[in-house]
């Protein structure tokens, strides 16, 4: 049962692996840019605000393309 619970816990955060990876990549990139001083704070905020909804849209569009309708 513990294995099933751990699996379900991971499933809370990861459903579409590419979406999860995209979120982590965006956050990692913005963190690196901000912490290294390359990007000012406003640019970091703008990147997050644009990239995260874009990642969601890409994931949904990809699923819609792949899935047979009303499966």
């Amino acid at each position: 049962m513990i294995g099933a619970i751990v699996k379900e816990l991971i499933g809370l955060f990861v459903d579409d692996e590419l979406l999860a990876a995209a979120i982590l990549c965006v956050v990692a990139l913005v963190s690196v840019l901000t912490l290294s001083g390359v990007a000012p704070d406003w640019l970091a905020g703008l990147l997050l605000t644009l990239a995260l909804p874009a990642a969601l849209a890409a994931s949904v569009l990809r699923s819609a393309r792949r899935a047979a309708p009303r499966k």
Partner: protein, 248 residues
């Protein structure tokens, strides 16, 4: 000091998300109760609540030790993953690509599987029924605890978030105890859609703030993010639903 917008957003997000989780847990606990008996159903649920209380008791004090920026960052990223996952699924359900969650169907399936399962009785206790109730209440409870921490910790509003979650659980438990049926009429996908939008907005806000972003309007930026994710989600539904319908 958090403003009223933040307090209402935190309480609302916590209530709505916990409501959905509690409805899902109630469905399975009811199925256990009707198929295997109320003793394993209630014992399993009670044991899970004790386990949850232990988790909270252990994790709770750690929250005050972690620096607020680090806490906001971790919580923000987890919220983004959790919220965008919920929102993605809700959009796919709204489009018609993924089937809507049906509490009546889930209840019928659980009841049938539990009725067909071996008795699994040892020492006079039905362990199959008890374990099923334990697992669902623990899993959904962990989600509720995470949601409370995620939406409440970033602004020191754990009490507000806890009150929202507790209210949702009490309402669902009271209605479930009164009608002894799953709450199939709850518009679950609409709730998940709304919660996904709110959690994603909180995740974006906390993540940015932890990285030093001074959001315009401070906490009011959360409302702008809610509007942004709503616009993206509705736009995707409007774009893809006719196509999915045409292909069906």
């Amino acid at each position: 000091m958090p403003n009223l917008t933040t307090i209402i957003s935190v309480a609302g997000a916590s209530f709505a998300a916990s409501f959905v989780e509690a409805v899902e847990a109630l469905t399975v606990v009811l199925a256990v109760g009707l198929a295997r008996g109320w003793r394993p159903a209630l014992s399993g649920a009670a044991a899970a609540l004790v386990a949850l209380a232990l988790i909270v008791a252990i994790l709770g004090p750690l929250m005050s030790v972690v620096p607020i920026r680090a806490l906001q960052f971790v919580v923000g990223v987890l919220l983004l993953m959790f919220g965008l996952r919920w929102l993605r699924k809700a959009i796919l359900r709204a489009i018609g690509i993924v089937a809507l969650h049906d509490e009546d169907a889930a209840f019928a399936r659980e009841t049938r599987e539990l009725s067909e399962a071996g008795r699994g009785v040892a020492h006079g206790f039905d362990w199959v029924g008890g374990a099923t109730a334990f697992k669902i209440v623990l899993m959904e409870g962990i989600e509720v605890v995470f949601i409370v921490i995620a939406v409440g910790a970033g602004r020191g509003l754990l009490g507000v978030a806890s009150a929202g979650a507790l209210a949702a659980c009490v309402v669902v438990a009271a209605v479930g105890a009164a009608i002894h049926r799953p709450l199939a009429r709850v518009p679950e996908n609409a709730l998940k859609f709304a919660v996904g939008v709110m959690l994603s907005a909180f995740g974006l806000f906390w993540t940015g703030e932890s990285l030093g972003v001074a959001w315009p309007g401070s906490d009011a930026a959360i409302l702008a993010f809610i509007a942004l994710f709503l616009a993206v989600a509705f736009g995707l539904v409007a774009l893809l639903k006719p196509r999915a319908a045409a292909l069906a």
